[in-house]
Each structure stands twice: as structure tokens, then as C-alpha cells.
Amino acid sequence: MRTSRTMNIIVFLLVIVLLGIPTNVSAESPYRGYIYDNLDNTPASINGYLYADSIDGIGKEFGNLKAPEDLFIAPDDTIYIVDSGNNRVIHITQNQELIGIYGDKEGKGLLNTPKGVFVDTQGSVYVADTLNRRIALFDKSGQFVKEFTQPVSPLLGDKFVYSPSKLIVDKRGYLFVVSDGASQGLMQIRPDGQFAGFFGANHVNFSWTRVLVRLVASEEQKEQIASVRPPEFSNLYQDNEGFIYTSTLGVPINQIKRLSAVGVDTLNAYTDFRYGDLYMPISNGTELLDAFVDVSISNSGLISALDQTTGRVFQYDKLGNLLFIFGGIGQQDGLFKTPTSVAETTDGMIYVADRTRNRIDSFYTTPFGDLVHHASELYVEGKYDQAFGPWNEVLHLNANYDLANYVIGKTFFRKQQYGDAMTYFQLAKHKEGYSDALHEYRKVYVRDNFGTIMTVLIASIIFIRLLLMAYRKRWYTVFRSNKSI
């Protein structure tokens, strides 16, 4: 009796203790890792980025965020957040300690729904003060310095609405401004506020339907048709080499561009390329169009582009090869509602601002992500031999990664091991690469085995001739004997 009672008590205590132990919680990502292969399928892939933390300002010195519109990460990895709903720009460290606030309570420094920010190397803060239709300049301490109002130029026309939303400042001090709804390109503004012309305008592509409509429509109808305008830029980013990267709205191809000093796209110079998802969600029977709202370039040249429609961040290497896709639309941590901006620190953390959720989400690289970045960096720099090992490791972890197969194939090709190159190009489903490797393989093979090949060839020709002769003779005799009957 007593023993069973103690047993009962022990079991009861054990249950209490076991209930108290937290079960192992695994950090499962709310989004499926995937990648596009060379046949445009979407095989599963290991996630390169996972959700780390959020900045929402609740209980912090700088207070709650409201509709953050833009992020800027300075070279020292401090973060500038355009807190649009609170009409201010916050400067914080990565550990969410407040450094400074820009935007005054009253006077000339009062902001009205700012949408963009840029900080130059001296720490001067340029704010695109959208609804005040100006660009406000603050010094490092937060003192309002001056403003750039709408520039006056006959190029702009009478109906031009100046609505600056994003900007960068280049090394000369020239401002490059995205004005909402302006389809003429980026506005270039001199340090003294003078208009210096449009830069890197998008173009309207040729369309047969438009020609047809023009032919058929009457004068009145033509007036009714909205005039076709080039797609407008949504955002821009200046990398550390001075190239300006832009994102464009309302086009299915070349949404991301790298503009050279004269405004020519050098990223999609050879072929048109479709960024983002190839299979978009369908709503009311029509496929949605992606909306790339921001682009960010890491120090090593990785391009992270944010698509508002799918809520996903797409990361490409400098050559435009897709590396990772993460994020999505949803409620969980790691998904977004209305993502507005993406920015990357020097240590590889990616920050995404979410206007509706009033917070900034940060993402860290997984070990697989680090490995791919390392391999990709070596490959892009042309260090094929050094990249070989890391890419093999990538393939070992993730056999669906076509880029790894392709790069290994290319490395073998350069090492003149054409047989191996063929194998890997075939695995990468890359026909051109395979064909080139085969071409070289054949050349080498024929050169090495010329004697054998010629011997076999000549022998087989003689053999076939003999066979034919024998056949004809037999046929001839059969024919003769038939005739004789």
C-alpha cells in the first residue's frame, strides 16, 4: 500500500516536472525555400535567409513606428528608417539604440509624409519630403540646413507634378531623384538646386496592338485612349562603384537595371531578363504583375530586389544569376503585408520594412546562404579554381542547385576536362554549355585516336564493299536462275 502510494506521488511529480520542460521548438520557416532551374521549374532549395528579429519601436526610446517607407543603411551599419506616418527619420544602431531623429516639430524642418532618405559620407541626411514637394537636407546633428524645391526648367513642362519619393546623391553632390508618376526618368538636380536633366529613362516597347488601334481608331477615339507612357522607376540604389541600380514598375522584363554613368542599362545588356517569379499568383482570372519597389546591393555586388506583389525578396549575383528567394505575403514572422523597402548591412543581414505592419523585419543568412555567397563571390570574380570547392559543397548540400552544376561544368571546361564538363552541363540542363564541351571533347578525342579511327573507317568501308559485292553476286545468280525458269 505505502509503496504504491509513494509510487503514485513520484509519478505525479514526474508528470509535473515533464510538463514544465519546454519541448524542443524547431525554427521552421513560414516560407518554402525554392529556386528556379534552367527549365524554369521550381525545385525545393535550402533557405538562404531566415527571419531573425523585428524592429517595431514598441517600448523603445524612439517610440512606435508608423508606416515605414524606406530604409538606408550607412557604411557603419547604422540604420536610417523613414518613419513616414510620424513624419520623421530615425537613426538607430543594429541593437535598436537611438542615435538621432531628423524632422522638426515645427518650422522649416517639419516633414510631411517623407518617403525616402539618403545619407552621404559626411552624415548629411537628405530626406525626400514627398507631400511638401521638396528635398530637405539636415546635417549630422539633426539641424535643418536647406531645402531643394521643385526645379524650374522648360524640360519639365507645365503639368509636371513634383513628388520626390526616393533619392541618392552621387560623389559630385548631384541628386538623382525618383519623382512619383514621372515617366521621363530619374531627375538629376545639381548641388545648387538647378535641374540638370533626366537620366536613364525607360522606353516604350513596340506593340502591334497599339499600331492596329492607331490604324482603326478615329480622331475622337484616339483622344480618348490614354497616351502610352514609359514605365516609371520605383526606386534606386547607388552601389560602392557608383553605378545606379533602379527598379521599375509595370513591366514584365528588365525590372532591375544597372545604369552606367551615361544612363545605359548594363545589367541586361545582352538579353532581356525577367526578374522575380515566373509564375505569378492569379487573381480574378488575370495574372498579377510583379511590383519591384526596392533594390539593394551588397558590398560584394549581390542584388536583393523586393517584389511587393508576392512579398518576396529575390537575390541575384552580380551577373544576374538567381541565388535565393525568401519572404512572402502572410501573418507569420518572416512574411510581410506591404513590404516597402529592403536594405543590407555589411555583415549580410537583410532588413525589410513593412508599411502595414509598422515594423522592420531582419533576416540572417543560414550556413547554406553563407556558403553560396562565398562560392558566388569567387565565381563572379573569375576565380574558378577557388570557387570549385565551395560549389561542390553547395551541390553536396543541395543537388537542385543548377547554378552549382553549371559553374562546376564551366570550371572543368576551363581545365580542359571536357568529359566532366559535359556531365555537369547536362546536370545543369544547359544545352549550349553541353554542346560546346562536346565540340571540344570530340576534337581532342579525334586528335588523340586518329590512327585507330582511320583504321576502323577504312576497314569498315572495305568490309561493306565486300559484303555488297557478295550480295550482288548472289542476287545476280538468283535473278539469272529465275530468268532461266
Partner: protein, 204 residues
């Protein structure tokens, strides 16, 4: 005569061949079916063993029944359509003759595609023009055989042969269209009856 000899003759002397073939008494259908089956085998071999640069489908995309349909169906519909069209314009061919001799349409395909499949393993895309030339040549030859067959079987003159061949092609498309339409309609009517049955069963 073996199938191989027939095939050779159809390539070398198509006019004589098709003329003689209608008067062959036995096993016409057997040879025709053998040749179409050979064409199907060629197709499968090509899909399986063509060089990677020249294979237009990944292995997982290949469906053998689907490929079989695309070999057998054109042959059968061509025969039906050609018989229907030529009967109206006083062609002399009988249906069984048309069916059996139009199978020889596939002979150039077999004869060229098999060696090409083998050789394509040693060809790179730099020789794409050569490969394209071979393919176009093959297609031209196939059409030539078909036209000769129509001419000989129905004893038309040249212009009329071309005209009837084109009409036959249109007829084929019509047959497919009607088939798909009937399939759709039958599908819908079955669905309709099922829906009514469901409705009644819910109400009762």
C-alpha cells in the same frame, strides 16, 4: 517480299512501288502496321538516345502513349480524310489501299531519323545548320512520298494531286476539330445528366 525490300522500293522507285502495291494480294495491312510500328519505335529511340544538345524534351517530360498517339493518329486520319475527299472527286483508290500505302509516309522518317539519332550524339550545336538541313530534307521527302502516293492511287494529274492533298490536310483538321467538339459536347451532356440526377436526389 520483306518489309525492308518494300521500304527500299518505296524510296527508290515510289511511282512503280505504289502502282504495284495496290495489286499486291496479301498482307498489305500487315506491312503497313509493321512500318507504323517501326516509326513509333524510331520516335521512342530518338527520344531516348538522341544527343543531349539535340533532344528537345527532358526524360521526365516524355509520355510514351502520347508519342504513340502522334504517330498513329495522323496516319489514320489522313487515310480517312484522303479517302473521303478523293471519293467525291472520282479518285480511284480504295480505302484499304489508301490506308496501307499511306503508311509508307513514315519510311523516310525511319530511314533518316535512326542514323541521325545515333550521329546526334557526336554533333554539337555548331552543326545545327547541318542537322536542320537533314530534318528539312526528311520532311520534304515524306511529303513527296505522300503526294506521289495520292497521285498513283487515284490516278490524278499533278495539279489535282496537290489540290487534293491540301484538301485532305484541311479534312484532317476538320476531323480533329469535330472529334474534340463531340468529345466536349458528350462530356457536357453527361455532366448535365449527372447534375440533374444529383439535384433530384438532393430534393427527394
Amino acid at each position: 517480299m520483306g518489309t525492308l525490300k518494300l521500304m527500299k522500293k518505296s524510296l527508290v522507285h515510289p511511282l512503280d512501288f505504289f502502282y504495284d502495291y495496290q495489286f499486291m494480294e496479301r498482307s498489305k495491312l500487315k506491312y503497313a502496321i509493321i512500318i507504323v510500328c517501326l516509326a513509333f519505335c524510331t520516335k521512342v529511340i530518338n527520344l531516348m538516345f538522341a544527343g543531349y544538345s539535340f533532344s528537345y524534351m527532358e526524360t521526365y517530360q516524355v509520355s510514351i502513349p502520347f508519342e504513340a498517339v502522334w504517330i498513329f493518329l495522323p496516319w489514320l486520319t489522313w487515310a480517312v480524310s484522303n479517302w473521303a475527299v478523293s471519293t467525291i472527286v472520282e479518285g480511284e483508290g480504295k480505302f484499304i489501299d489508301i490506308l496501307t500505302s499511306s503508311a509508307f509516309f513514315y519510311v523516310p522518317y525511319i530511314v533518316i531519323m535512326l542514323p541521325f539519332t545515333f550521329v546526334s550524339n557526336f554533333m554539337s550545336l555548331k552543326e545545327l545548320s547541318l542537322a536542320l538541313f537533314i530534318m528539312y530534307f526528311m520532311q520534304f521527302w515524306m511529303i513527296f512520298i505522300l503526294v506521289v502516293q495520292v497521285k498513283v492511287l487515284h490516278d490524278f494529274e499533278f495539279g489535282k494531286t496537290i489540290w487534293i492533298s491540301l484538301l485532305t490536310a484541311v479534312g484532317m483538321i476538320l476531323i480533329w476539330f469535330v472529334c474534340i467538339m463531340i468529345f466536349g459536347l458528350v462530356n457536357q451532356s453527361i455532366q448535365f445528366v449527372l447534375d440533374i440526377y444529383k439535384e433530384l436526389s438532393y430534393r427527394s
